[in-house]
């Protein structure tokens, strides 16, 4: 286990380095510089700006400077917000994104297991078909279609919840964004759990338990729940990545001042350093969380643990 953990952690480092290098190269392969605009600058002024951002140095030198910065947690200056560094923007905006993502994932997991369990126990009944159809809808219909329609209904027509994050206070303003972000993952978890629960319920040891007269409830609690939950753990990695991607859209729709909004605005304004920093930040987050999920799976699955 320890050996596996060490190998896995060592394996993640080159991946992260590749992410940083590729992102850096892409940005610097851009045709034209970041300060090209309709305004023509004096050559001296342009030289000064380039020097201020170290853009006049050869590329390898720029990369090593950037890499050393990233290791210290410094992503350099932002081109469109000269008064802030990219790191300051990231540190200021990640808490709200984290809150949004963590709540969505938690709700998706709990409700997904619940609905998946109901569908598995009521297999091939109307309830099962209804839940499966709903799950497929949740998976298929994109967040950015569901979100405005829910806003139109719950905020504009009924007026129950604020339509935007800044338009409300307290927890109320979190409800719609969290629900919308959770829905597709909830649907995935429900489908996955239904399938794995059915498989477990058909296994020999569950049949034996049933033959010994155990009630369905106690079979699920003591025998079926744990093995059926395992596939969900291995899906946590992709789910985290999907929530991160989804949060970009959700933050944009509800005007939540998190990482995603800065990412999109940076992308639209061609703020290269901000986008570069956020790509690396998101990449590091995804790689690290995947690492934890992998280790968790190893730890939980007795079949893998023994080896």
């Amino acid at each position: 286990m320890l050996r596996f953990a060490l190998l896995r952690i060592l394996g993640a480092i080159p991946t992260l380095l590749v992410v940083i290098a590729v992102a850096f190269m892409l940005v610097h392969a851009a045709p034209g510089g970041p300060f090209d605009s309709e305004r023509v600058l004096l050559p001296e002024v342009e030289q000064n700006i380039l020097r201020a951002y170290h853009l006049d140095e050869p590329l390898p030198q720029q990369f090593s400077r950037y890499l050393r910065g990233v290791l210290r947690g410094d992503f350099g200056p932002s081109y469109t917000h000269p008064e802030y560094g990219v790191s300051e923007i990231i540190y200021a905006s990640y808490p709200v994104s984290f809150l949004l993502g963590a709540w969505s994932l938690a709700i998706a997991l709990v409700l997904g297991v619940l609905f998946g369990l109901i569908a598995a126990l009521r297999r091939n009944t109307v309830i099962d078909r209804l839940l499966s159809g709903l799950a497929m809808t949740g998976i298929s219909v994109p967040v950015f279609v569901i979100a405005p329609i829910m806003v139109l209904f719950f905020a504009v027509r009924l007026g129950w919840l604020p339509a935007s994050f800044s338009g409300g206070t307290g927890t109320g303003r979190f409800v719609l964004p969290v629900v919308v972000l959770a829905l597709p993952q909830l649907a995935y978890f429900a489908r996955l759990f239904r399938a794995s629960m059915i498989e477990v319920l058909e296994s020999d040891y569950v049949r034996t338990a049933r033959a010994q007269g155990l009630s369905t409830l106690s079979i699920i609690r003591h025998h079926a729940l744990k093995p059926a939950l395992l596939p969900l753990v291995s899906y946590l990695g992709p789910a985290i990545a999907a929530v991160l991607t989804g949060s970009v859209v959700v933050e944009q729709i509800f005007g939540i001042p998190g990482l995603g909004q800065h990412f999109v605005n940076g992308a639209l304004n061609r703020d290269y350093t901000l986008v570069l920093g956020l790509v690396i930040f998101y990449g590091a987050l995804i790689i690290t969380l995947n690492l934890f999920v992998d280790l968790l799976y190893r730890f939980l699955d007795p079949r893998v643990r023994v080896q």
Partner: protein, 285 residues
């Protein structure tokens, strides 16, 4: 099982699967409508008429889906957007298909160390934050349809490569491959002529599972303003415009949103159904 028997079996089970047929019919109808509708409508796609903005859906005047904030006919724009969405999906899928199949077939056929290295690379690529890379690409380079095809196609080939590799490994141990090799057929010719045709069924399944992902991703980019650019439009871009003006003109949101939702639902049901038919490993319970 030879390949014709496989197709036979598939034809029978597809016929038995009503949902797959319904979804296929729905998709074909939407595709046909997107082409015929633009010809039938009295309005042209880019025509701006400020005096006719925010007209609700109506039968007279020919604005069947209403007009947008600039007075452009939403029916024609929705159908044009659908065309672009289909177009991007098909081309980007082709890109992902070519990369995935050749990569997977090569790794599986050559085997040994090459295979091990190639598949380790795929594992490593799975960990990459591709969505963010594509956005970075769209920021750095001029946003064009071609860039989008390549970028979206280039990130969606990993699943296909894995599946194709697995199939190729099992195929290359079969007698007809040995026979071809004894006949002196070159390796490339064996892959192209003997292995590739037998991959057809499984590849069809993974293509249908890939297309909705690509549609979703394209509309995601367009929604953020990073995908298809004006004067062209796509369903994602239309949903974005509609969302910004839904309080004044809910139809601007609801029509493109329903088209997109319907397309994605049909594609996902279709992919699911085909997987049950073709993929012996998928156990539908």
């Amino acid at each position: 099982m030879n390949s014709t028997a496989g197709i036979h079996r598939a034809r029978y089970s597809i016929r038995g699967n009503r949902l797959v047929l319904i979804c296929l019919g729905l998709l074909l109808s939407i595709a046909a409508l997107s082409i015929v509708g633009t010809l039938v409508s009295p309005h042209s796609v880019g025509k701006i008429a400020f005096d006719q903005n925010f007209i609700g859906p109506t039968l007279d005047g020919g604005h069947w889906f209403g007009t947008d904030d600039l007075g452009r006919d939403l029916f024609v724009r929705t159908l044009k957007g659908t065309q672009i969405t289909f177009f991007v999906a098909i081309v980007a899928t082709m890109v992902s298909l070519v990369i995935g199949v050749s990569y997977g077939a090569l790794a599986g056929y050559v085997g040994g160390k090459t295979d091990a290295i190639m598949m380790r690379a795929v594992d490593a690529l799975y960990a990459m934050p591709f969505v963010f890379f594509v956005i970075l690409l769209m920021v750095v380079f001029e946003r064009s349809l071609t860039l989008m095809f390549v970028a979206i196609g280039a990130i969606n080939w990993l699943d296909t490569a894995r599946i194709v590799r697995g199939q190729t490994i099992s195929l290359k141990q079969r007698a007809f491959v040995d026979a071809a090799r004894l006949d002196g057929v070159s390796n490339i010719a064996i892959i192209v002529r003997h292995i590739a045709p037998n991959l057809l069924g499984i590849v069809v399944v993974y293509v249908t599972l890939t297309i909705p992902q690509i549609v979703l991703f394209e509309s995601f980019l367009s929604f953020l303003g990073l995908g298809v650019q004006e004067p062209q439009t796509s369903l994602g871009a239309l949903v974005s415009e509609g969302a910004a003006r839904m309080e004044r003109a809910p139809w601007m949101l609801l029509f493109p949103a329903s088209f997109l939702a319907l397309i994605l639902l049909s594609l996902n049901f279709l992919g699911d159904g085909l997987r049950d038919v073709f993929d012996p490993k998928s156990n539908k319970t």
